[in-house]
Symmetry: C2
Subunit: 306 residues, 2 copies
């Protein structure tokens, strides 16, 4: 029921995902059963190929996340988290209210012991098929050095196991390459990361090193900086699109196709999609959920924080 084009885009995306994943995955649709059936019918798709869990409530994008999560127990977000807690599903994805998804994660599945703050990421297009992982992109606008240090580990595991990038290079986003450059946060973080064996730290990288994985596969920054940089990339894409410039690489910037990000650092697989997701984006989100489950990412992260 989540996202600006729900439930139509969600159901159509699930159909596309079913056609791609086939018997490799059982897709569970949580939402209004009648609407799901009706969209399936229009798409000439047999709804019995899904498992459908009927819900009666919807959390709107404008609602207060914590209140809505508490007051709407029969919303798809609350029901989804409950199913995840009971291990009835292996992963949970939604393009609905990001706030409610985050609140739900903290109320139910919770952080992995040792993790100070979970994080969400963006997959930034690079010169080749594998993206650059940028984190955090919005959960934590104020970070301490030990939080950024943990993000480096979370991002490395995600890059390594989900995107199959060997020994991913971790760069600290900064305003100069030299060790002594930066703000109070990045200067202290550099000192914490320097010489670490927990990940492959390659030093500071700058804004112009974006979109180029020759430098780093994982870029670490606080959630304020990550958020504005991600949205600036969206602005670029809009400029390119407005000019009808077609280019395979720039098409990767199309956030409408963006499959979503796991909440890294929690005990289960939860994927947050973009609110404006169309059916392709939903398909990609389901596909990404499958990939994260298959990569056993949560187990790998738990091992790293043992």
């Amino acid at each position: 029921m989540g996202g600006d084009y729900a439930p139509e885009a969600a159901v159509k995306g699930a159909i596309l995902a079913h056609n791609e994943l086939k018997e490799k995955a059982k897709l569970v649709l949580i939402g209004n059963q009648d609407q799901i059936h009706s969209i399936c019918e229009k798409s000439q798709f047999d709804p019995s190929l899904f498992e459908i869990v009927h819900t009666t409530e919807v959390i709107g994008m404008g609602e207060h996340p914590a209140k809505a999560f508490s007051q709407k127990p029969d919303s798809s977000i609350v029901v989804g988290y409950n199913m995840l807690m009971k291990k009835e599903i292996d992963g949970f994805a939604s393009a609905g209210s990001t706030g409610a998804m985050l609140v739900g994660a903290m109320y139910t599945v919770k952080s992995i012991p040792g993790i100070i703050r979970p994080s969400i990421t963006a997959a930034v297009p690079s010169g080749n098929e594998k993206p650059i992982i940028l984190l955090d992109v919005g959960i934590n606008p104020d970070c301490k050095p030990d939080v950024l240090y943990q993000y480096a580990i979370l991002g490395s595991k995600y890059a390594e196991y989900v995107y199959k990038i060997d020994n991913p290079k971790v760069g600290l986003l900064n305003i100069g390459e030299e060790e002594e450059k930066g703000n109070l946060l990045t200067k202290a973080t550099y000192q914490a990361m320097k010489g670490t064996r927990d990940f492959n730290f390659i030093g500071n990288i700058e804004g112009h090193d974006f979109f180029n994985d020759d430098k780093a596969n994982v870029i670490v920054c606080d959630g304020f900086v990550g958020n504005v940089m991600l949205k600036e990339a969206e602005a670029f894409y809009m400029l390119v699109k407005k000019r009808n410039m077609t280019d395979e690489f720039f098409e990767k910037f199309n956030f409408e196709n963006y499959g979503g990000t796991p909440i890294l650092g929690i005990n289960d697989v939860v994927i947050i999609g973009h609110g404006i997701s169309n059916d392709i984006a939903i398909k990609n989100m389901v596909r990404h959920t499958f990939d994260v489950i298959e990569a056993r990412l949560i187990d790998k992260i738990k091992e790293a924080f043992k």
Copy 2:
């Protein structure tokens, strides 16, 4: 003598600027006289059209700014600041060491009383001929709310008097439009700016509002965020260029042509150019220096802080 292509680009740029400004301005070239003469000769330009001040020392890009400024009294940067102090010139521009230029400003001309921290800006391309002023882009990576508040005034005066933008709209760069969104800095800054009569505050703007002056003419942020956003725009321009996409608008992103930024908040007109400036960029830098002098920007800022 400053910049990666000095002195050739500097002298050639000065020649272009002379041809454009003609008798409206007297250009003073500070540097090695023999080299200046030789480049003029090669360009078939009469060097007596310039006033030339011979210097024997050069501050390198890698030198420690404060040390170099103290130890090289006959460098073009030190001589330039001394001439500015003695009112022998009305404005001083250089594409040399940004660090030494900033140190020189603080050692000699100094901040306007009441200004906590001076700032440097970037002129971000917008949908029309007038750019969006982004500040700070690197002097102050850690800011307090009162510093951002002053940046809003400095940016407004610059936009109004130099770029002739009426009642410029000031946006606070943030990670959400709503008042309560942000990090500790932007949340407190919003409260300080709200309802102000010192400038035209239009509220929070986000990363995707970049390059679009429908929202804001002046974007205020700390120097860390401004620096990474500016460099991300450079990265984007490189991507466009690499693909041989030609577009008048994207050409405005070409930082090689960028004319430089005043140090806003000091007692005199000082313009800092980009280190990699070519002759066109130097010409634009001289032209911008002329525009800032002619706009009487320093007087306007002094009045605002009386």
